[in-house]
């Protein structure tokens, strides 16, 4: 793996991803506070602002995320909009930190991703047990009771591997993308790296979306009432 310089690694050593994630969280917090205070000053919330303001931006983000969650999860999704919206915004902002020269994306370390993925894993089974009670465990036995002895190990492995694959996917994508960017910046100093910066922004968006979408699919699958 090529070694990539970053200020936070220079200052904080092994705590680099923590420092990056804290910085991103502070920026997001600042944005949220600003947007909230801008929203409080509005006379009539039905009338949008004339130009691009912080209120418009916040409304666009919230509206898009609401549609995204509701489209993927259906009616169950309403109470999950804050959770998945926060998750998407946090991962996306973390990924975008890698586009700024001198910073590594915190998500190019496995630990922040594993943290989010483990939260999703625990939440999936907690919500599943809450929604179905003990009959949730029947999901692991497959459709035919006689094949349960085959299905239970398979289902167990497939559930346990989900957080691993979620976190490894994000980690590998961000690391790979950042390595490509650094190598091309090394090779061609001017002009060409811009292409890879654009690719980096696209990959940041797609990977944040994929992480959120897969989490939604997992949790939606756990709480869904199957009709058959």
């Amino acid at each position: 793996m090529p070694h990539i310089f970053s200020f936070f690694e220079h200052w904080f050593g092994a705590f680099e991803p923590v420092a990056g994630a804290v910085l991103v969280s502070l920026l997001l917090f600042l944005f949220a506070v600003k947007a909230k205070s801008a929203l409080a000053k509005v006379d009539d919330p039905r009338i949008p602002d004339q130009s691009l303001t912080i209120r418009n931006t916040a409304e666009l983000i919230v509206g898009t995320l609401r549609d995204f969650v509701m489209d993927t999860m259906g009616h169950d999704g309403k109470k999950f909009i804050p959770f998945f919206g926060t998750m998407f915004v946090f991962i996306f902002a973390n990924n975008l930190l890698g586009v700024i020269p001198g910073f590594n994306p915190p998500t190019s370390n496995i630990n922040p991703n594993a943290g989010i993925a483990i939260i999703v894993f625990l939440l999936t089974h907690y919500l599943g047990l809450k929604a179905h009670g003990m009959s949730y465990l029947k999901h692991f036995m497959g459709p035919v009771a006689a094949l349960a002895f085959l299905m239970i190990p398979i289902e167990l492995v497939s559930h346990l591997v989900r957080p691993v694959s979620l976190s490894l996917r994000l980690y590998g994508n961000m690391t790979g993308d950042h390595a490509v960017l650094s190598i091309f910046t090394d090779l061609t100093k001017i002009g060409i790296p811009v292409i890879f910066l654009c690719v980096g922004i696209f990959i940041s968006f797609v990977q944040a979306m994929v992480f959120t979408m897969l989490s939604m699919v997992y949790i939606g699958g756990a709480i869904a009432h199957d009709e058959h």
Binding site: M1, R169, Q207, M213
Partner: protein, 103 residues
């Protein structure tokens, strides 16, 4: 299909020939060469399979969009592409881990 067969043949030749070459080299350098080869082959073969699969997925999705432009296949397609790609990414991680061992 013939190109595909040729490619497989080339890979097989490299795989068979490299231990021979490494053995001929003698000394302690053989392991390093094999690790470097494994790192390259891991991501190469994975990218080959992943690209083939993603091409098929994208072709099917585009066909679906062409037949019915209002169909919402974009989201599931990206989901599927991500699932395919994650296997390639595993190989990339292995390749990173291996290339770290080559001094």
């Amino acid at each position: 299909m013939k190109k595909f067969a040729n490619g497989l043949l080339a890979i097989a030749v490299v795989m068979i020939a490299s231990p021979v070459l490494a053995a001929n080299g003698g000394g302690g350098g053989g392991d390093q060469g094999m690790i470097a080869l494994a790192a390259g082959l891991a991501i190469g073969v994975a990218a080959f399979g992943g690209a083939l699969a993603q091409g098929r997925a994208a072709a099917a999705a585009l066909e679906g969009i062409a037949r019915n432009p209002e169909a919402k296949v974009m989201g599931p397609m990206i989901l599927g592409l991500a699932l395919i790609e994650s296997l390639v990414i595993y190989a990339l991680i292995i390749a990173f881990a291996l290339s770290g061992k080559v001094g």
